[in-house]
Each structure stands twice: as C-alpha cells, then as structure tokens.
Amino acid sequence: MTDPTLPASKPKRASQLGAAFILKKSLLSAFVALVLFSLMIGIRTDAGPTGQLIHWTRFADLAIMVVLVFAGSILTELFRQWWAARHRALVLPESAKRGLFTLGRLVVPALLIFAFLVPVIFYNQRYMLDLGILVLTYVMLGWGLNIVVGLAGLLDLGYVAFYAVGAYSYALLSTTFGLSFWLCLPLAGILAAFWGMLLGFPVLRLRGDYLAIVTLAFGEIIRLVLLNWQHVTGGPNGISGIPRPSLFGIPLTAGPNGLAAHLGIPFSPTHRLVLLFYIILALALLTNWVTLRLRRLPIGRAWEALREDEIACRALGINTTTTKLTAFAIGAMFGGFAGAFFATRQGFISPESFTFQESALVLAIVVLGGMGSQLGVVLSSLALIGGFELFRGFEQFRMLAFGGAMVLLMIWRPRGLIAHREPSLFLGERTKITSDLVKEGR
C-alpha cells in the first residue's frame, strides 16, 4: 500500500481485528500518553509565596490520565471496527429516504416558528432568553462570514475585526455624539464595510493559506490598536455606559416616558431582553434573506464561480477585483451590524471580546455547518454555543473541549454537518449536489 491517494481503502488484515492487535495499539497509546503527560501533568509548578517557583507531584492524576487514554484507545478501536462492519450494510429503504427528505423540509419552518416563539415560551426564564440572543448573534455572524467563506471561497480568519469595528463604531458614536442605536446601526454597517474594502484591496492577489494568515494578522492589528489607542477607545478598560436601544424612540425604562408606562403595563426588565431578541432575530433573518437573494443575482453567481475556479472566472470576463471586494464588504457589513448589536446588548465593550478565538469560533460554525449551507450555520451554532453552556462551572475546560471537538468533527465530517448544496441554477428538477463534487475555495 504505497499509493498515498488511497489511504482510506486499506484492506484490513485479519490480525487487525484480533484482540491482540487492539491491546498492542492501546498499550502503545498509553505509553505515548505516559511520556507526554509525565512532566506536564505529573508535576505541577506554580509561583510560591515568595515569588520563587515551587513544584509538587501529582502522580495519581497522571495514572488516571494514562488509564483513561488506554481505555479510550480500546473503545475507539472497537467502535471503529464495529462501524466498519456496520457501515457497509447500511442501506436505507426508499420509503425511509423519502420520509427523511420530508422531515428535512420541515426543519427550516419548524426552527423559524420556534425562534419566533422563544420569547413567549421562555418569558420567565431570563437565562434561556440570554442564551437565545447569544445563539442568534452567532447565527448572524456565521451567515455573514458564510458570504465570504462559503460563497466566495475566501478564507477569512479575522472576521472578528469587523465585529469589533461595528461595536466600537456604535459605542463611540453613541457615547460621544449621543446618536441613537437605530441611526448608528446602518452607520456601523457602512463603516465595517469600508474596513472590509480596506482589507480587501491588499489581499486581492492572495489565495488560500496566505489569505487566511493575512486576515488573521489584520484582525490582530485591529485588536491591538483598540487595546493601545487609550484616549479614544479606553484601552483595556473599554467603553462602558453604551445606551440601550429604544422602540421607535420610546425608551424601555421604568420612568413615566418608558414603554411600560405608555402601554399601561407594569415595568419588567424582561421587556428589554424580548426587544433585543427580536432585533437580533430580524437582523439575522435580514442577513439570510439578502444572502439568498444575492445568490440569484449575477454577483452571487460570480462569487460561487470564483470559489470554484478563479482562472476560469477571469477567462469568462468576470471582474475578480470587484467580485472579491463586494464579498468582503458585504460580509463585513453584516459583521458590523452584529457588532453594533453586541455593543448595545452588553452596554460595555473591551478588546477582550474580539480575540482570535472569536474568529475561530465563527469560522468553526461556518465550516462545521457545511460551507455555504445556511441551515448548517444554524445547527452548528446551536450545537457549539449550546455545548459551551454545558461547561458552565468548568470554564477552564471549555476551550480545551472546543478545540478537541473541532479536531474530532473535522476528522468525522470534514465537509461539515450539511455536506450538500442547493444548486442556484438547475435544469428541470432541483437535485442536491454533494459537496464532494464542489471544489473548495482558493
């Protein structure tokens, strides 16, 4: 087996299925784990009371970890063999396939109705409303990034920069000039789009990994400037006291001018949460709607063509410069909207909210959902943000689990959860194309 193009189809030798093979493999894993962890886990260092470094041993933890790796290795190997044996026999009957297809068509309307009803169902559960707002913020960011990564195929690792631009635009405009949220929202979007163009110009000629690393550097530059430009951005202290949104000019306060007084109902802080929820829902749906419409316009078709083959695009007379720039600008604009919303929701922003981890999280949402799939973004945001909530109380393990999940999900489904695409042009019947046939963006 020297052909490197066929690594997955290695025929399993008989010995690979035996218990001895599994034991040998697991012992090897346990040994590797022992070496890897002996210093990092077996010995704990810390700065002592006098500032000097002290250390103590934790051999019990080390033993537990090694045993865990050993057991995990056995289970993984057993599962892999069981899966390989079962996977071949898995053929769905035609009726089940049709049933799944109908179910699949019901997912979107069901999710939409559920989203609209969330504030009604969870009116008394502040926590659930907060979580819903958080999930929708990431859905919106994911949809915005999907334009750049999923449609135009430009890998952007610095998307959080536009989120930051939107947030700081609103924060500065409202705290300095007293402009309202609804006036600042389009301004934040325009400013973010402008920054998107600014990033777009220099990176026009770059592709793939180079593009990724430049966008990453751009995101870091924005964060570092926000951190160090003390007299404008407040530096690490951030900006606080950002005004909350109003409903058609009526503030949601307890006073006599507030919305509650106008409607003649008792004031409750939940009203603001409900308003925020519907604002982000509307913004997210706007993003989705614009994306879906753009896909049918020449510019959207040009984006997808660019993702498939840039040289062919140029040969066909598509202006790649404007195509890329519009993708960056429109993607950035939605990032800016989301940023302005984030600022008004939190009431306080600091550069800490705009680290590379955020960019990676949004990109993970897009790619795990299946690049270019709008529904996939929703499902993976629900899964990832919901998964984060499981780690409430174990905050230190959260990013560890997130990183591990990213690796495992990529190995399990490199193409994401929804690995097929709706064609934007079709002859006669609308068939789904698997993304294995679609070339990735370059």
Partner: protein, 304 residues
C-alpha cells in the same frame, strides 16, 4: 550608535529564536502544504517541558550548569518531538487527502487544545525562573552607555548556528533529508519509488517540534518566563518570518526570523513597544502584497 549596537544584538538573539520556530513552519508547509497552526503552541510546550525538567533535575540534586542544560535540552527535545508526532498522528494524518480547509481547522483546534491543556495542567499564571546563566562581556563603553553581550545571548546564537548546521547537513546529505525533499516535490512519485511518505511526514513534524523545543528552552532562559498563551503570538511572528523568507526555503526561514527579530526590537527601541506586534503583522501584510514569494522563495506557477 551604542544604543543601536545594543539593540542589534538583542534583535539578533530574538531573531534566532523566531528563526528556529519558523523552520518548523516552513518545513511542514513545504511538504504537506498546510499551515501547522499548532506549531506555536508546540514551542510553548517546549518551554514548559524545559522548565519542569529543570526543576526536577535541581530537586534531584544535579546542579552543575552544563550538565543540567544538556539534560534539559535533551528531555525537552525528546518530549516535545513526541508531542509533534502525536499532533500529526491525531489531527492531520486522517485529513491528509481531505479538502484543503479541513486540516487548517483541525490545526486551529489542536492549537486550542495544546494551549488550554497547559493552562489546565499548569495553571494560568506566568511562571518565572531565576536566571540560570549569568554574566557576560562588555563590548565597549562610550559616554556612559555600555554595550553588553551576555553569556546567554552568546549561547542562544551559538546553539542556533550549530542546530542550523546539523539540520542543513541532515536535509542535504542524509537519506531522511532526501526523502523529505522528494516528498516535497511529488508525494505520489516518491511513494512509487519506495519512499515511506507517512513516515517522512511524521519525521518532519518530529524534527520541527524538536527545533521548536530548543527555541522554547532558549526563550525560557533568555526571558525567564513561560506562560500558556505565549505560543500564539510567537507562532504568528514565526510564520511571518517563514513567509518573509519565502515559505518552503530553509535559509529563508532563518533570514526571515532574524529580520522579524530586528524589526521588532528596533521598533520597540525607537518608536513604541505597545505597537511592536502591529509592526510585525504589518510587515507580514506588506511583504505578502509586494513580494508574495518572500525573499528566497520560488514563484508559484499556477496551471489550469
């Protein structure tokens, strides 16, 4: 002038460390064609392993500085190399023929795993170590300003030069180096001619990680601190160095590392140290715009 000379020395030392990390990036990119995002964190792990093994050796009663240093560097290289091997085995090998974004994301995930692993295992606080190698030479003195070359600076530069010599001998003269160059050119053809591609790629990661471990140890000795977050920024800067030198080119990586080290040091010395990272990242962007192939890289020909 004296100030400039002193900054030049500091920049060269920092650049040597960046250069050693950059070699890992450039080798992996040359052979597998992916950015090994976790490489910066491998460097961080190397620093931690060096710190812990140093503490263990001291508590075992071994205090002769040369022996301690030798043992620490060996332990750090071996353990970190195993980390590099494991990362490749778990996160990259199953995705070798997958679509292009998959290994990149899995690498980002691995980077989070490594940095948060050391945060959980060793705590989030910065770990200080007392200076192990002290002393140095005064090169010259003028108007009350002293230009000093410390022993640790000499050790860093000498170690880098020695490692580079060994490494380039390995790439140009040994069987493994020949296999690596063959895989870089054409993996399928190399496999047909009897090169074990999987093993060669594994060895690339192992060697890159071992070099990063030395860089991590020298960082520990030079700055006297390690923390779980240092891999990210150092990793991006080292990648910048690799790109600046021309990705895929080994002398380029070293040259780029020195350039980034000098730029960063001189920028902090003459402008503002807050914006030194901005300067390094701006250099990356500017280089990629005007010189996408870097200083010593070959232009990439694109065919339909």
């Amino acid at each position: 002038m004296d100030y400039f000379a002193q900054q030049l020395i500091n920049g060269l030392v920092l650049g040597s460390i960046y250069g050693l990390i950059a070699i890992g990036y450039t080798m992996v990119y040359g052979i597998v064609g992916m950015i090994n995002f976790a490489h910066g964190d491998i460097f961080m792990i190397g620093g931690f392993i060096a710190l812990i093994s140093f503490l263990v050796l001291v508590s075992l009663g071994i205090t002769a500085v040369p022996i301690v240093l030798l043992l620490v560097v060996l332990v750090a290289m071996a353990t970190t190399a195993l980390y590099g091997w494991t990362v490749e085995r778990i996160a990259y090998r199953p995705l070798r023929h997958s679509f292009r974004l998959a290994p990149m994301l899995s690498a980002i995930g691995m980077s989070f795993v490594l940095s948060n692993f050391s945060q959980v295992a060793q705590g989030a606080r910065v770990k200080p170590v007392p200076p192990i190698i002290t002393g140095g030479y005064t090169l010259f003195e003028q108007d009350g300003f002293v230009v000093r070359l410390s022993n640790i600076q000499i050790i860093v530069v000498v170690t880098t030069v020695v490692l580079l010599a060994v490494f380039s001998w390995m790439v140009t003269r040994t069987r493994l180096g020949r296999d690596m160059r063959a895989c870089e050119q054409d993996q399928t053809m190399a496999a047909l001619l009897g090169v074990d591609v999987d093993r060669t790629i594994s060895m690339t990661f192992v060697i890159g990680a071992a070099l990063a471990a030395v860089a991590g140890m020298m960082y520990l000795l030079y700055y006297g601190v390690v923390d779980f977050y240092m891999g990210f920024v150092a990793g991006i800067k080292a990648f910048t160095a690799a790109v600046l030198g021309g990705i895929g080119s080994l002398p380029g990586a070293m040259l780029g590392g020195l350039a980034i080290g000098l730029i960063e040091t001189l920028w902090s010395a003459y402008f503002s140290s807050e914006y030194k990272d901005v300067a390094a990242f701006s250099i990356l962007i500017i280089v990629l715009i005007f010189m996408p192939t870097g200083l010593l890289g070959r232009p990439e020909v694109e065919k339909v």
